[in-house]
Symmetry: C2
Subunit: 536 residues, 2 copies
């Protein structure tokens, strides 16, 4: 029964048995309507090309690309050549990208047309010359930037694709941490394959051939949550939203393509909701939405259910987990629960997928009670959980005895529902007690007057730190002061949890992954208010 686990099996399978199933790729030039047979042919050509450039297994091949059919061919073709697909977050600063390419030792870069200038700038800061290929779709090719389409057309496809030992490296992704040594996570063929199977289970995303899948999460993030692999494995249809996907475009694609499963961060689903309302779009009655990467407000879950009959299932993952570790489905005995009771399930981070072990531990590494109240740092391990960083050793703050220390503070209940209380670094220390910024944010965002809310710590002479709310009000909501805004929080939280003050903003800063950027927010608040501890 020697048979290596690899996503290469998935693309061969998709091309062979699901060859006619649609792979739709939205682009600036219009809609590309392809198929899994076409993706397999592209992957076979990519594999030939990459093997000619990098005959040494394990060489890194970088992409700077949106969710397109060309990027999809690279997802399967690069690992099948024995090389490592190194997806680069296009939203990082040039200096960060240079550091990551340098750290990874990457010598080949395939980039969408809009990122060629960026790569040219980055190239001056890396020590090795870069082979550069443009992923077409608009700009003309040049000697410096030959055309991907022309190159793949010029080679014969590798048929069948070679299969590598399952422990071989297949992918590399750096976490979005912007300080310190770059932290790269290397994915094996095996980890990718097992992860795709696990997320496709009914208590994961529940994917089958009958689904049409839209990854609203970028393909430059952690395998696009495994959806390209899972869609190929199951033979599902795939809809790729293309360059710079706006919430308007995603909303219209959901409707136009009859999408039945979509996944992305909560802020995307907030924006998509507005567009669904504005344009009165109809959706497939089978559409389910998976929301992860940040806490999902229960008001958002309610709005989708009540207005569109769409169930949002929340989940949790990290780049270090390939990236999905949990999904939050209700259990068999909850069918008679009230909506209020169920809200606590639907907005949990979830229960661990099969093969993922999760526990909350205290400072000594001892598991805390699984009672849903005791808090500890969340630790995870499993066959698709990183046990070290690429060429970065295993720093004690990141790994302990084979467990990944997530940096999240969480409770775990007796059924395995994990609820994040906060990031260890986002907790607010007030008078020797802890205040959860996440719980305050969720409560503020449940207010119908509030569009977005983030809570950060500001230094305080007596209490050490105090919470400050940064709030974006909805259009048409008049002026408010803190006491009016915080009134709904009274009674829900201890008095000393109520934020010290509020700053109203036009928009909250976001990270390259679309989450509220609390680091930037803290810096901005300290600068603007002049009460920072950074000496200003």
């Amino acid at each position: 029964m020697q048979y290596p686990l690899s996503p290469t099996h998935f693309i061969e399978r998709a091309g062979r048995w699901f060859g006619g199933r649609a792979v739709v790729s939205e682009g600036d030039e219009g809609t590309h309507r392809g198929s899994w047979a076409e993706v397999l042919d592209g992957a076979r050509r990519v594999s030939a090309l990459v093997a000619s450039w990098h005959p040494t297994p394990g060489d890194r091949v970088a992409t700077l690309g949106w969710n397109t059919h060309r990027h999809l061919e690279l997802y399967f073709g690069v690992p099948a050549a024995g090389a490592v697909l190194h997806t680069v977050n296009v939203r990082l600063a040039p200096a960060q990208i240079a550091r990551i390419l340098e750290h990874a030792g990457t010598r080949t870069v395939l980039a969408d047309p809009e990122f060629t200038d960026l790569v040219d700038r980055v190239e001056r800061e890396v020590s090795r010359p870069l082979r550069k290929i443009v992923l077409d779709g608009g700009s003309p090719s040049s000697d410096a930037w030959p055309s991907y389409d022309e190159l793949v057309d010029s080679v014969a496809p590798v048929d069948p694709l070679p299969v590598w030992p399952e422990e071989s490296a297949a992918g590399l992704c750096y976490t979005s941490g912007t300080t310190g040594e770059p932290k790269g996570v290397m994915y094996s063929h095996r980890a990718m394959a097992l992860h795709a199977m696990a997320i496709s289970l009914p208590d994961g995303f529940g994917l089958g051939e009958n689904d049409t899948v839209l990854p609203a999460v970028p393909m430059f993030h952690a395998n696009a949550w495994g959806l390209p692999h899972a869609a190929a494995m199951t033979g599902a249809g795939l809809v790729l939203p293309g360059p710079r996907p706006s919430v308007e475009r995603i909303a219209h694609l959901l409707s136009r393509e009859g999408v039945t499963f979509a996944a992305g961060v909560p802020t995307v689903w907030m924006g998509v909701l507005e567009e669904l309302r504005r344009s009165r779009l109809s959706l497939s009655p089978r559409l389910r939405i998976h929301s992860g990467g940040a806490p999902t407000p229960s008001s958002l879950v309610d709005a989708y259910r009540e207005e569109f009959g769409v169930e949002i299932v929340t989940g949790w993952g990290m780049t270090e987990l390939t990236p999905v570790g949990m999904a939050a489905h209700p259990r068999h005995d909850m069918s008679a629960w009230t909506p209020a009771e169920l809200a606590g399930i639907r907005t949990a981070q979830g229960t661990p997928l099969p093969f993922v072990e999760a526990r909350a531990v205290d400072e000594t590494g001892t598991e805390v009670d699984r009672d849903g109240r005791s808090v500890g740092e969340l630790e995870v391990r499993g066959p698709w959980v990183a046990a070290s960083y690429y060429q970065g050793g295993s720093p004690p703050e990141s790994f302990r005895d084979g467990w990944l220390r997530t940096g999240d503070v969480a409770t775990v209940d007796g059924r395995g529902y994990v609820r994040l209380v906060d990031r260890t670094k986002d907790l607010i220390r007030s008078g020797g007690e802890w205040i959860s910024s996440v719980q305050l944010e969720n409560a503020l965002m449940d207010d119908p007057r509030v569009s977005e809310a983030a809570v950060v710590a500001v230094p305080h002479p007596r209490w050490q730190e105090r919470p400050l709310a940064c709030v974006v009000l909805k259009e048409g909501v008049g002026e408010l002061d803190g006491s009016t805004l915080f009134a709904p929080l009274e009674g829900r939280f201890p008095r000393w949890w109520i934020p010290e003050d509020v700053v109203f903003m036009a928009a909250l800063p976001r990270t390259s992954t679309g989450k509220f950027d609390k680091k930037t927010l803290r810096e901005w608040v300290r600068r603007e208010r002049g009460d920072g501890s950074d000496g200003s």
Copy 2:
């Protein structure tokens, strides 16, 4: 990301997160209402006991048992001790069981009370002394047959269960072939774990925590089709039908326990259907039935859908595949198909699960066209497909270049739907052409007057072989002759396919796995009709 794949993870997971979920075991003494927490505790005690008897990893521990909670504890506890769970088909003859125990080198046997006499008889024919333990449930223990319950109560549970390298042997099952060298299939922890994940996918059995699973297939057959492992992995409820499960008992358990997923052979579902009708039982609206192990008549599929709203999904497997390889779900673009068109899908053997490769090949080993018409021998390979038999080498008629030769003749279409035409040895050779006994049987069983039908070859002086129909009529159907019975076949098949004659019988002989026993039927027909080629 070093993390071994094993069903041991599933039982630890089930006990930890799904500890309260019911595991119901029907017995002669009544209904045992247990839980996954209880099964985990039992498995931990079994593990301690087995490790004390067999400190050498890989030792075989045999069971002769029905589907009970004690057998379930052994399913998880024996492999966790590093030993191999050797499930023995209780329906075999003593001499066959002796040969199998001898071949496997098994020295410990745990048996249900009704099989202790059988084991005592068998013991005289094996060369090693046997350690014997009775699985309680009625008969008193003795010095020769100490009590399982007392033994497990006497040891401390192993907590946590040890995890073995994933390629270690965990299970052993002999195919029901009754001649030649015994053919044992050894299952690794890895194969069992991957198989459980794959069958739980939406396009497999589609199992989740919300399910209540009833394995109507015995636990002494090929891991009970993986259902005990899959139920533990997903945290589903489990209903075990206990000793000598009648179709009446299965029908009442489906209703009483609110079963949502059940799996077994078609003959079981034929009998259950009668009882459902007779007792007017109500079923869970979520119940799906998986039917495999033999071809499922489309009339049976129609009856369940029309009378009970229950969808039967067909599938295909072999002991050599752990055992499931395929399931037959309709595709996304078949929603507008007519019932007649869909019948061809619902009664196909299915399409391969992820990681299972399947092809039909001609005599030279070349794949035949995937057009749904070209026939060839079905070959399969994958991470849970045997590549050799236990201590039996790899005979050329069983394996070729890493592929398992199934002995089934099949067509494969462009979407991967595999349809068995026949066993290579059940095909009827008539006038240089081939007649499929299976297709004739299915057509005969679609006749509302017919209860059971099998078609076998009888020697013919001119045409070499001709088909003979052996038919059981439904109660109340008057006398019929061949021309009346075969009238519905005219036009559906070539004239020369129409059976030569019919024999009406009170019941068809069955194999130990509940399938029509064509070997016995052929021998009986030849003897009775005196037209055999065996010299009679």
